[in-house]
């Protein structure tokens, strides 16, 4: 039953509009590939490692094809010919390309490759690893006691993976259920994924496969100690989205920050590049049971949380549809929103509660990601503790799923170990104290909360109608989200987008989609 008396027809209409908005975008996506999508495919064929200058082999190959031949035919075209001719594995071929002993350019003029089958065993190897990770995760989660309250999510961001592990383990012992390793500032704009364990970063730690593995191992150990599965999060955003998901799937990350619009708006990454990249990322996440976290909370740090609440909802509908297009189950769609209203606003708590309940009601199966106050955190740690407490009450009452804990020292420094411990204590207290509060209350049908939720829904509907009329590309140019305007051919990474050649062949994406379909029918 609807607690907020939201109009179901409007909700359905929003979904239909989002679906229509993405028809053109999806048809664009289907006709294009990008450098990182191609590199992700190489990673999924077990190609790993770096050359003498620390450049990942997957970059060496893609750059080699870009410079010497035509990437629009896809890496699989070249690689399948090379595997056929040399009878070597993709990894061995990669190593020989580095040594300039193999030149893929000679296959450029060859017809559509009849040898793609030769690559399938290597892909299956990786799939077996991913499947094993899915089983391991499911088995451990099955042994973990079920709980109804939100999962407590904290971040670590020391820059040094070994120090991160120390912080993460300590947070888990204090009750953290999800650990996110924030990336170093700037990584989203790197067009390659750094390699190996790293100990230097600013405001975060490099996302590398080795760092993923180290943190996963530490969290597995402490999971056993505390007898519950602790989830690990990283960022599949920026210019290497699909590659990061590939690495995360192999190393059993459980969640990935992955938004279809965030990079465009906040990192000035080209929109075409982002759309193509997010699609591959989401298909792979969907297959690997990785929960995505979308980034609508960011709209509210840039523009006003009260005035622009509807842009969050409209974007959630769009993110939901992008995820559906990628074959993702609702249970994996961690749609984002945030508690970011100005504390000076009268009744801000009611409006926040209204919006949180609204999101819960509109997306009942999604593991909603709820973000804490950041914009109006001031350095007054005592007031900050109260702001976080109010946020925690809304989160528990409205049954959010992924509950990112606010830090009283937000706006001062990346969290100290004690900041995190105090935040966990605060959240655990409210989780206990308000456990069934949401079940006990109902909302005045003519009251402020119900009216606010209805209003935001209607505004979102109006906005989606406009986006449908204008098209998503134009809407983004007009700056409808976060008041940031981006042009269709502006931003970073457009030079890495290629229209697929008539001879472009893929079996990775299609086989992931096919396997998911088969899984559903089982």
């Amino acid at each position: 039953m609807s607690r907020l008396n939201l109009n179901k027809n409007i909700i359905e209409s929003c979904r239909k509009l989002a679906k229509d908005v993405l028809i053109d975008v999806q048809s664009y996506i289907d006709k294009h590939t990008t450098k990182t999508v191609e590199r992700a495919q190489l990673r999924l064929l077990s190609i790993d490692g770096v050359n003498e200058f620390n450049v990942p082999l997957v970059n060496v190959i893609v750059d080699h094809i870009t410079e010497q031949a035509d990437l629009s035919k896809g890496v699989l075209h070249y690689l399948s010919y090379a595997v056929k001719e040399h009878a070597l594995s993709p990894q061995q071929i990669a190593e020989k390309i580095v040594k300039k002993q193999i030149d893929l350019a000679k296959y450029e003029e060859k017809p559509k490759s009849p040898y793609l089958d030769l690559l399938i065993p290597y892909f299956n190897n990786i799939l077996e690893k991913i499947d094993q990770m899915k089983k391991d995760r499911a088995a451990f989660i099955a042994k973990t006691a079920k709980k109804e309250t939100p999962s407590k999510y904290v971040i670590v961001a020391t820059g040094n993976i070994y120090e991160d592990i120390e912080q993460a383990v300590s947070a888990v012992r204090k009750g953290a259920e999800i650990i996110a390793v924030i990336r170093t500032t700037g990584q989203s704009l790197l067009d390659y994924v750094p390699y190996g364990p790293t100990t230097e970063g600013f405001g975060g730690t490099y996302a590398t496969q080795a760092n993923f593995k180290l943190m996963r191992k530490a969290l597995d150990e402490v999971s056993k100690e505390v007898n519950r599965y602790v989830k690990l999060v990283n960022y599949a955003s920026g210019l290497c989205m699909p590659e990061i998901v590939a690495m995360g799937a192999i190393e059993r990350l459980d969640m990935m920050l992955n938004d279809s619009l965030y990079g465009i708006i906040f990192r000035d990454i080209n929109m075409k590049r982002t759309f193509v990249d997010q699609y591959f990322s989401r298909v792979l996440s969907a297959y690997s049971d990785i929960i995505i976290n979308t980034g609508e909370d960011n709209y509210l740090t840039t523009s006003d949380a009260f005035e622009n609440a509807h842009t969050v909802l409209a974007s959630q509908f769009i993110n939901e549809q992008f995820a559906k297009n990628a074959g993702m189950k609702e249970e994996l769609m961690g749609l984002g929103h945030a508690y970011e209203m100005n504390p000076e606003l009268e009744n801000s708590f009611l409006y926040e509660l209204a919006q949180a309940e609204m999101a819960r009601e509109i997306f009942p199966n999604a593991p909603l990601k709820y973000m804490p106050p950041t914009k109006h955190m001031t350095g007054d740690i005592f007031k900050g503790t109260v702001q976080n407490a109010l946020f925690n009450i809304v989160s528990v009452t409205s049954k959010q799923s992924i509950h990112l804990l606010g830090m009283m020292t937000e706006a001062i420094h990346t969290p100290f170990m004690s900041d995190r411990a105090l935040a966990l204590d605060n959240a655990a207290y409210i989780e206990r104290a308000f456990k069934d509060f949401g079940e006990e209350i109902s909302y005045n049908p003519n009251g402020r909360i119900v009216k606010r939720a209805q209003f935001v829904l209607e505004e979102a509907h109006t906005l989606l109608t406009k986006i449908k009329e204008d098209g998503l590309f134009t809407a983004l140019e007009q700056g409808i989200f976060a008041n940031v305007s981006r042009s269709e051919n502006g931003g970073k990474g457009l030079d890495g987008v290629y229209p697929k050649h008539a001879d472009y062949q893929d079996f990775i994406l299609t086989s992931l989609l096919k396997k998911m379909k088969e899984g559903d029918n089982e």
Partner: protein, 250 residues
């Protein structure tokens, strides 16, 4: 003749009782040794009668303490010197009036969060129409053309854009200050300006929660603004400085 001395201590509930509170963690397990160690730290800081009012384990080998005590130090208020922006802060209306009276064309502000710093909350608060905490941003000011380049803007690009837009004022926001990354970045921008012989062409202002005017001066900037400073503070300083410089004068 020097001013009269005026010594003070922190205030709890009685003048000069010297009461302070502090909290910190120690890489020590939570036990009596940890608690005594916490007291020792307080004593070394000149805090008498330290009372550990709360302590808790954080993790294996780490513990947390809240301590109250009486600080022995005192400070002569009249010997305290501060470096502040030396200009009168005007309201938005006053700024607009000032702009109209003194300049023949709009003043161009180009701003960005630079280097690897992706946080735009600071630059947005100063520049975007909406502003922050009820104080409109520079985009709203009549007589100002505000161009916000957003986050992660390279120093070279910032300069290029400033030249392209004929900027009078450059605003740089820095939020990430871990391991002093902002110092390196800010130093590099000033060096870049000097290398190109362009330092005098712009008023260059930095801002951020961990920025202050003293730091700005030390690094070679015209001014620095920390937290609780709004668009009108920045605008007031910049336009008064431009008037002194004689830019776009009527």
């Amino acid at each position: 003749m020097s001013k009269k001395e005026f010594w003070i201590r922190p205030y709890g509930d009685t003048l000069n009782d010297g009461k302070v509170q502090l909290s910190f963690s120690l890489p020590v397990s939570h036990n009596a040794v940890g608690e005594e160690t916490a007291k020792q730290f307080a004593l070394k800081m000149g805090i008498h009668d330290p009372a550990v009012v709360h302590s808790a384990p954080l993790s294996e080998g780490f513990s947390f303490y809240i301590v109250y005590g009486t600080i022995e130090h005192q400070v002569d208020l009249n010997s305290v010197k501060i470096v502040e922006v030396e200009s009168k802060a005007m309201s938005m209306d006053q700024c607009e009036e000032f702009l109209l009276e003194n300049f023949r064309e709009p003043i161009v502000f180009v701003g960005a969060s630079t280097g690897t710093d992706a946080h735009t909350v600071g630059i947005d608060a100063i520049m975007n129409m909406k502003g922050y905490n009820g104080h409109y941003g520079l985009e709203r000011y009549k007589g100002i053309k505000a161009i916000n380049l957003g986050g992660q803007v390279d120093n070279e690009i910032l300069l290029e854009k400033a030249l392209e837009h004929n900027a009078d004022v450059i605003l740089i926001s820095q939020t990430v200050t871990q391991k002093d990354v902002h110092i390196q970045n800010l130093t590099q921008f000033i060096e870049l300006l000097e290398a190109e012989n362009l330092r005098d062409r712009f008023i260059v202002i930095i801002g951020g929660a961990r920025i202050n005017h003293a730091l700005a001066k030390e690094l070679g900037y015209d001014a620095g603004f920390g937290s609780k400073k709004y668009a009108f503070d920045v605008a007031s300083y910049a336009i008064q400085a431009l008037k002194v410089k004689g830019i776009k004068q009527k």
